[in-house]
């Protein structure tokens, strides 16, 4: 397994139990015992998930001998945030916009094919409609 921080973060987030643990920890730090309560899982199983989260830098655990309180580490979430950007949503949104834009392109092409003499008028119009970046 990769030790690249972001890979570890995303691998850790891919599991629903671990996400549920993080949601609980987002409310405040707590002990492993308390954390295990709402889950139908053994303490060793929960501990295993916690180790994955800790290794991914998403949580930290206190040094207190008896109850090692778990807490969330906001820094790693913020680091993932900028990079993530949600690619599926990005492409879904972009392709939906492209669908609409293709309708414009088709209409333009049909217009050119139907009346070649109007081509010049149309291309001027296109230029005035062109959106500038920035």
């Amino acid at each position: 397994m990769s030790s690249d921080p972001l890979s570890l973060t995303f691998a850790a987030l891919a599991d629903p139990t671990r996400r549920a643990i993080l949601s609980r920890l987002a409310l405040g730090e707590t002990s492993v015992m308390e954390l295990a309560e709402p889950f139908d899982m053994s303490l060793p199983a929960i501990s295993k998930h916690l180790k994955v989260l800790e290794r991914a830098g998403l949580i930290s655990r206190g040094r207190e001998a008896q109850w090692r309180p778990c807490r969330i580490e906001p820094a790693r979430f913020k680091q993932a945030d900028g990079w993530l950007g949600d690619f599926r949503r990005f492409w879904d949104e972009n392709f939906n916009r492209l669908d609409q834009y293709l309708e414009e392109m088709k209409a333009d092409e049909a217009l050119k094919a139907a009346s070649p003499s109007k081509r010049n008028v149309r291309s001027k119009k296109e230029k005035s409609n062109g959106r500038k970046g920035g």
Binding site: D4, S7, L84, F95, L98, G130
Partner: protein, 161 residues
């Protein structure tokens, strides 16, 4: 009327290094090809609300470079690379690298094919990474479950900060 086209974006992982996206478009492939490769078209649809496309430079030749810059100058994201194969209207191959302040991704190869299906277009984009780790990192961003969970967690974290 034409049969309804399924425009769902499909994402698969045929190997440890790949991500493949397929999508149908209700337009002939030369238009889809142009929409994907010409700045005057890309500036009309590519980008996102939070980070609109600010710079779009394309030298559409084999060996030619392209650069897309999105978002405000202090936190801009850049996609850039070199065209490797161009065959209008059926194929375009290029390398790509994503970067933003504090993060530069590794380079990957993108091959997009435009298939004519009764006057409509099936676009297939194959993304080939050089390592499974890089692919997984890219894929994690694509996985909706992870992202949704992340959004929720980020909101929690924000409220704690």
């Amino acid at each position: 009327m034409d049969a309804k086209v399924d425009k769902t974006l499909k994402i698969t992982t045929p190997s440890e290094l790949e991500i493949v996206m397929t999508r149908m478009f209700e337009a002939p492939r030369h238009l889809v090809f142009d929409a994907m490769t010409k700045p005057e078209h890309l500036q009309r649809w590519f980008g996102c609300e939070q980070a609109p496309l600010r710079i779009c430079e394309i030298d559409l030749r084999v060996g030619g470079a392209y650069r897309f810059v999105m978002g405000p100058p202090d936190s801009e994201c850049t996609l850039q690379g070199i065209y490797r194969e161009i065959s209008r209207p059926e194929l375009v191959v290029f390398t790509e690298r994503f970067s933003m302040p504090g993060f530069t991704g590794s380079e990957y190869r993108v091959a997009t094919t435009f298939e004519d299906i009764g006057g409509k277009t099936k676009m297939t984009t194959s993304i080939l990474h050089s390592s499974k780790e890089a692919r997984d990192g890219h894929l994690a961003g694509i996985d909706q479950g992870v992202s949704t969970a992340y959004d929720r967690l980020a909101a929690f974290v924000e409220s704690q900060a």
